[in-house]
Symmetry: C2
């Protein structure tokens, strides 16, 4: 039963669309075999070492709901140059780092099994916002019609304004 | 749809059975609001800083399958004294730390949605092994009939021998 449930994970990984995704995964696996990290691995992974990052999607959902803060999920890959370039700009952008404190934060290298997190496919970098009502804010998008949740480094101001938009909590109507 | 899928997560959390679980969660949430961590948060969380830890269950399953290493999942809570006591013994046990290198490792503070990871309920500390064929090794148990996957610090030798048992990879018969 378990094998069936999770086989989809492996199939989905193949669909990741950053050009270097597959090579990156191989390389990373190789590196971890050959050399050990000298410092413990971090949850921030360089997206903001001073921010508080959640470890898993389940934790992030729980914390978003209980704290009433929106959740920001960054899908990325260590050896994807687009992800790395966005990370650099994100980490160095003081206003974004400050605004990020108002969010529950999660960065993921591996996709979850929740299809709500890939409204238009799985690719990296891909940033999604989730309201504390646990509604995916599919309306908060970037500039690219074929990859609605992708951002280039030059889109950092749009990302900032999208973060501001996400902070306006949805009202539950029921 | 999403709200429904994940509402179970919150209900499950309530079922955690370490006596201090609920207080611990509250305290942790409070602490993170009041003070920021000076060092980036780590994936090891003190269970072995020199070991390589995966971040999520999806990552761990993928790495177990592709590397043909068994997966060891430690469920724990930061402010649960039983978890803390086991962690101390685990981290200081040289043979266990050495043997742990042969596993894909994951420690989780929040439960996943996979019921296969709670064969006899959700409690902490709770250690489960998964074969690279993605079969939960429900046969690898500790001493306590009411909590088959719990270990006390005095059970560390049993845990060591259970790790050795888990390293004997199951053969797929099909």
């Amino acid at each position: 039963a378990m094998e069936k449930s999770y086989m989809s994970v492996f199939l989905l990984l193949v669909a990741l669309s950053c050009a270097l995704a597959k090579d990156a995964l191989k390389k990373e696996t190789k590196d971890t075999k050959e050399t050990k990290p000298k410092l413990p691995q971090t949850l921030s992974r360089g997206w903001g070492d001073q921010l508080i990052w959640t470890q898993t999607y389940e934790e992030a959902l729980f914390r978003s709901k209980t704290s009433n803060k929106p959740l920001m999920i960054i899908h990325h890959l260590d050896d994807c140059p687009h992800s790395q370039a966005l990370k650099k700009v994100f980490a160095e952008h003081k206003e974004i780092q400050k605004l990020a404190e108002k969010f529950i934060l999660l960065n993921l290298v591996y996709e979850t099994t929740d299809k709500n997190l890939s409204p238009d496919g799985q690719y990296v970098p891909r940033i999604l916002f989730i309201d504390p009502t646990l509604t995916v804010r599919a309306d908060i998008t970037g500039r690219y019609s074929n990859r609605l949740y992708a951002y280039e480094p030059s889109d950092i101001s749009l990302l900032f304004s999208n973060m501001q938009k996400a902070l306006k909590i949805l009202k539950t109507e029921l």
